[in-house]
């Protein structure tokens, strides 16, 4: 899930400066789970904007705002309202903003800050577990990701920065990921792996922008 936080209302207002008519999109997936762009948040945003003298031409919570097909389909259905708007405010992740902006050829304003790919511990508490590094090593590390959960993204065991209660030097609230890995590998009798020299990470797999096209699709497209 893309963990996100709504931008300050003042920032949204300043982005909408000079625009009178605004349409608001939300998303039923991540934005709803993070309470940034579900039905409730869209209704609240509509009210706040109207209080500030904006005209809200409509609101719509997309099922999944990062799907180009879905966005285009809803865009057609909502054409009239969208055409009557100066711009669109997207209360969903940055991918949604661009999927909507590019797909519907509208001015799309970001209404949230996208933070990380995360796990929803419970409503209101979100933690990062994976940063989509392109080559998963969870198999070796006992299912705990050092790329993401070690503050330095170390590949070869802990730095000297952990405290006796197992916390990281960077944030005393966070567990040292490498101590967690150490404990788990010890339990599973696999500590030998930690003694070996691991290659540095291959960052060629994370050079942006990343794309993935299935091989058979590529061939079909080429034909």
């Amino acid at each position: 899930m893309i963990i996100q936080k709504q931008k300050a209302f003042e920032e949204i207002m300043s982005a909408l400066e000079g625009e009178e008519k605004v349409f608001i999109f939300g998303c039923a997936d991540c934005a709803t789970a993070c309470k940034t762009g579900g039905e409730d948040e869209l209704a609240q945003m509509k009210q706040k904007l109207e209080e500030q003298g904006k005209q809200v031409t409509g609101t719509y919570v997309l099922d999944t705002a990062c799907l180009s097909g879905e966005v285009r389909k809803r865009g057609k259905e909502l054409k009239e309202q969208l055409d009557a708007s100066d711009s669109v405010l997207v209360l969903a992740c940055g991918t949604a903003v661009q999927t909507i902006g590019d797909g519907l050829e509208v001015i799309a304003h970001p209404g949230v800050d996208s933070l990380f790919i995360g796990n929803v511990v419970r409503l209101g508490k979100y933690v990062e577990k994976c940063s989509a590094c392109g080559k998963c090593i969870l198999e070796e590390t006992g299912g705990i990701c050092p790329v993401t959960r070690c503050a330095k993204g170390l590949m070869n065991g802990p730095c000297g920065g952990y405290s006796p209660d197992g916390k990281c030097e960077v944030d005393p609230e966070q567990d040292c990921a490498w101590l967690l890995i150490y404990e788990r590998l010890r339990e599973r009798g696999k500590l030998g792996w930690m003694e070996t020299v691991k290659d540095p990470k291959d960052y060629s797999t994370v050079s942006s922008p990343r794309t993935l096209v299935w091989e058979h699709k590529k061939e079909a497209e080429d034909k």
Partner: protein, 291 residues
Amino acid sequence: MSNFSEALQSGKFVVTGEIGPPKGTNVEQMFEEAEHLRGKVAAINVTDIQSSVMRVSSLAVCIKLREMGLEPVLQMVCRDRNRLALQSDLLGAAIWGIENVLCLTGDHVSLGDHKEAKGVFDLDSVTLLKAANTLASGKDMAGNDLDGTPSFFTGAVVSPASEPVEPQIIKMKAKVEAGAKFFQTQAVYDPQQMEDFMKKVSGFGVPVLAGIVLLKSAGMAKFMNSNVAGVQVPDALIEEMASVGKKERKKKSVEIAARLIKQMKDCCNGVHIMPLGWDSLVPKLLDQAGL
């Protein structure tokens, strides 16, 4: 071969010192501190943007030290440079005749004075050791041939007072495999702990220099206990520091450090003294420690 590596190979008890570059171009005081170490230590470490607080470059200071006829240990951390820059600086060090390199991960940027900076950590201490030794074999990390091969004497750090210590020892093994030829430890204040640690790592066959940080006051000791990972100053030493007036502190500090060195002398291969600006006390300290 560096004098430092020869000294270690000879099996003698080896002493190294340390200086920290300043923030700004006034380097006189730092080089004065280094002068106090002349003839007393086998080599002088130069810290690399220590504690993530921006300062003069370690490499530049090492070059100066060599010009002064002092032998440097170039400290290199992985926080600020990617593998291109680290290898490039290693070659740069080599053309100035700098062979001793201490490879560290480095503190996180959030601990320093440029918290908005991007922490790099493209390599880590282990892969930096390996990179330096790969260069010394005539190739770069990508496998390309070098036109002119550097030689390095690479070392690393370990924290005997970390709890738990086992992950440190496991990583130490990886560092040896990656080419660590010596270790300098984080500050240790408990000789028994050092002895126990040395028993566990003697099998690696790599010399270990125990870290000595001069205690400046009881307050500093308490600060380190709660803020510096892997450092534990026992209460007895804190009380000992607190028992003397301000004027007597330097004397007491030297007395404690000399005692620690004597107690640890038989279990390790040398000491790495980090005077934190009190370099002028090092000759007296070594005297009292009987070195």
